[in-house]
């Protein structure tokens, strides 16, 4: 298989290792158009901020080539090939959608180019189809939902109705929650998956949730769907009788103000909230706010930490594809999110998860942290990795 891919890349004949220079060429592969354009911009802003902030700590300089994935896996794969073969980048950073990550996975693995994942959370990327070249600095779908099942059960919630868009990420998030929630004695009284990116009116599903006899509703939605969902949930008057919980993308700082009052009181769990009280986060929030005029989101911090991880890796002297891949796997630092490390078994990030409630603050909605749940490594999920040989 690997031979075939290498051959397909034309690498078999031209396995030229990029000339080792003091500069490192970074391919930034993000959506700048399409439904996730705002996420791509947020990550890029964070990434550039990270380079600015920590760039002085390393001797190398970075040259960034950015490519637009348009959130289309085939387009993204074409762009990734271009970055690897034509631009000969040393490392790639980015990838928002899991579909795109799935598409480029074999490619980066086959070409032995290190990739720092700055968003896409599909569990397999650091599970069954993990790669020593793919290091994830964002999150995995299971990771951010698993602790919430236990936490909600401990809070005395017995019956939950779940809702999520019908695609791989939606199912993984809900499955992870369901697993720990039922293990802790909870019961799932109803589960619906709504057509992904085609559902604008959640009315029919909300009526089902209401009729299900649940104590609470647990959902995963993001972007435009999250805005519509939270507003419609509130307009049906469900928030009072049926508290709304979810993974934190539901009330991301990126668009929580579009949800307005409807988002107040929603309790969600995520690996980052801009109100985390730490020095590192203070610095990051201040820098980001100065740049954009608003609080950073989890996407921004993922870009920021991806840049930081890259710089940390170069500090070890890594300067080409293989050495960077090795160094990235051993990165650990204290960032805005708290203490971060890479799990050597899967290359996934290990990070704390924060449970927060969206509340009214001075300048709009803000996040009140209710609990910090300890960092846990994901299960290995069939990941087998050979070390990268230099």
């Amino acid at each position: 298989m690997k031979r075939a891919i290498l051959a397909a890349l034309g690498l078999a004949t031209s396995l030229a290792v990029p000339a080792a220079a003091e500069g490192i060429k970074v391919g930034l592969l993000l959506p700048f158009s399409g439904v996730y354009a705002s996420l791509g911009n947020e990550i890029e802003t964070g990434f550039n901020l990270g380079l600015e902030q920590f760039g002085a700590e390393t001797g190398v300089t970075f040259e960034v080539v950015r490519e637009d994935t348009e959130v289309k896996p085939p387009v993204a794969l074409g762009k990734a090939k271009k970055l690897i073969l034509q631009d000969q980048v040393d490392v790639m950073v980015g990838i928002v959608s899991s579909g795109v990550l799935g598409a480029v996975r074999d490619m980066v693995h086959g070409a032995s180019v290190p990739l720092i994942v700055a968003n896409a959370g599909n569990d397999e990327a650091t599970g069954a189809s993990c790669s020593p070249f793919i290091t994830r600095m964002s999150f995995s779908n299971g990771q951010i939902n698993r602790p919430m099942g236990t936490w909600m059960a401990e809070k005395g919630i017995k019956k939950v109705f779940t809702l999520a868009p019908d695609y791989a990420a939606g199912r993984q998030m809900i499955d992870a929650f369901t697993e720990t929630f039922t293990a802790a004695g909870g019961e799932i009284v109803g589960q619906e998956f709504t057509p992904f990116q085609k559902t604008q009116d959640f009315g029919p599903y909300l009526a089902q949730a209401k009729a299900s006899g649940a104590d609470a509703v647990y959902v995963f939605y993001a972007g435009g769907e999250a805005i519509s969902f939270v507003k419609q949930y509130d307009s049906f008057g469900l928030k009072a009788e049926l508290p709304l919980y979810g993974s934190g993308f539901l009330t991301s700082p990126l668009y929580v103000n579009a949800q307005g009052e409807a988002a107040e009181g929603v309790i969600t769990a995520l690996h980052y909230a801009p109100t985390i009280d730490s020095e590192a986060n203070g610095v990051f929030v201040a820098a980001f706010t100065e740049e954009t005029g608003r609080a950073p989101s989890e996407f921004a911090v993922q870009g920021y930490d991806a840049a930081r991880a890259l710089i940390e890796a170069t500090k070890t002297g890594a300067n080409d594809r293989a050495s960077l891949a090795n160094a990235l796997r051993q990165v650990s630092f204290d960032g805005p999110r708290g203490k971060l490390a890479i799990d050597p078994a899967t290359n996934n990030i290990i990070q704390p998860v924060y449970v927060y409630e969206t509340v009214a603050g001075e300048g709009g909605l803000t996040q009140k942290i209710l609990a910090q749940l300890p960092a846990e490594a994901d299960p290995v999920n069939g990941c087998e990795m050979a070390p990268v040989s230099n």
Binding site: A7, G10, T13, S33, L77, G78, K81, Q86, G102
Partner: protein
């Protein structure tokens, strides 16, 4: 009925020369773009056959191509069928699907036909999007290319693959010309000009439409199977109606019903898209403005415009020259 004139031959030779030059000199990304153009060219040829010569403006050709891509991917990765057989299967499948769509749509005309094809295309899109075996929104990967090592060609090499696609496109073009010049092709043109009369002459009109739509669907399916092999990864976006819309834009930009024009359109569109998207993320805006400008100019696309200006003149001069030569020869 399709006719070649001098201008069309000249354009074809120039296009082929350009493609060959690119195929032998370009680097990796240039080859990728070339292959993208060649595959899009097959799709727009398929669309031009039905829209330009049969008046059937289809908004499901993207879905047909996507169907071919998915069929090939499923056959090879899930069912373990050998790539050549899988390709044939994918082509047969999309051909059959297109035949049914053509048969059902044969009673509808104009905007209703467009809407009917849109409905079928979107139906396929939704089905693929929501069926787990197709990988949903994430798509399918691990698609392998045809193995031509028995004739010493390694299609995993970008250059070989581009040349292979060029050869396939040449065959498709030749086949299209044969189809359009056949009895069926003539009848199709007759139906486009005057459906009522063709029926009164005893032609089973719906069969002609369905047959041609089926053939066109086979070409779209072939383009899809090649697209799947090219990218080696597919996602439901391939089946979206906007792909069909873009294909239609290419046909119109190039010149509806000229067969050569859409080829030029495909090349222009892909190059424009890549050049613009490297400059701005708002490249759709520019493409939209160009489309509006071309349509408003009332020319039949780029090639139609050239043909209207120089096509006849070129033919007349050539005819004059031939006559003179003949006169000289007979005198002597």
């Amino acid at each position: 009925m399709f006719r070649h004139n001098t201008l069309r031959y000249v354009a074809l030779i120039l296009l082929a020369a350009g493609a060959l030059f690119q195929a032998f000199t370009a680097e990796y990304f240039g080859l990728e773009i070339l292959t993208e153009i060649l595959i899009l060219a097959m799709l727009v040829l398929a669309l031009d056959i039905v829209a330009g010569f049969g008046g059937m403006v289809s908004l499901c050709h993207g879905a047909l191509m996507g169907g071919g891509a998915y069929a090939y991917a499923i056959f090879t990765t899930k069912a373990g069928i050998a790539p050549p057989v899988a390709m044939a299967g994918a082509i047969a499948l999309t051909g059959a699907a297109a035949w049914v769509i053509g048969a059902i749509g044969s009673r509808s005309h104009g905007i209703y036909f467009i809407m009917a094809t849109l409905a079928f295309g979107q139906m396929a899109y939704s089905y693929v999007f929501e069926t787990p075996i197709f990988g949903g929104d994430d798509g399918l990967g691990g698609i392998s290319r045809l193995d031509l090592s028995f004739i010493g060609v390694d299609l995993n090499d970008s250059r070989s693959f581009a040349l292979f696609c060029l050869a396939v496109l040449g065959t498709v073009y030749g086949t299209s010309v044969v189809i359009l010049r056949s009895g069926l092709g003539r009848s199709l043109t007759g139906v486009m000009h005057n459906e009522q009369r063709m029926r009164a002459l005893g032609l089973t009109v719906w069969r002609v439409k369905a047959d041609v739509f089926g053939l066109s669907g086979m070409i779209a399916g072939l383009a899809g199977a090649l697209a799947a092999q090219h990218i080696m990864y597919i996602s439901p976006g391939l089946l979206s109606w906007t792909v069909s819309g873009e294909a239609l834009v290419v046909v119109i930009l190039g010149g509806l019903g000229t067969l050569v024009g859409p080829l030029i359109g495909a090349a222009a569109f892909v190059v424009l898209k890549h050049e613009l998207s490297s400059v701005t993320t708002y490249w759709h805006l520019v493409v939209g403005v160009i489309l509006i400008a071309v349509v408003m100019s009332r020319a039949n696309g780029i090639f139609g415009w050239i043909e209207a200006r120089w096509g006849d003149r070129l033919d007349r001069r050539l005819a004059d020259a031939t006559r003179k030569t003949e006169e000289v020869l007979t005198d002597a």
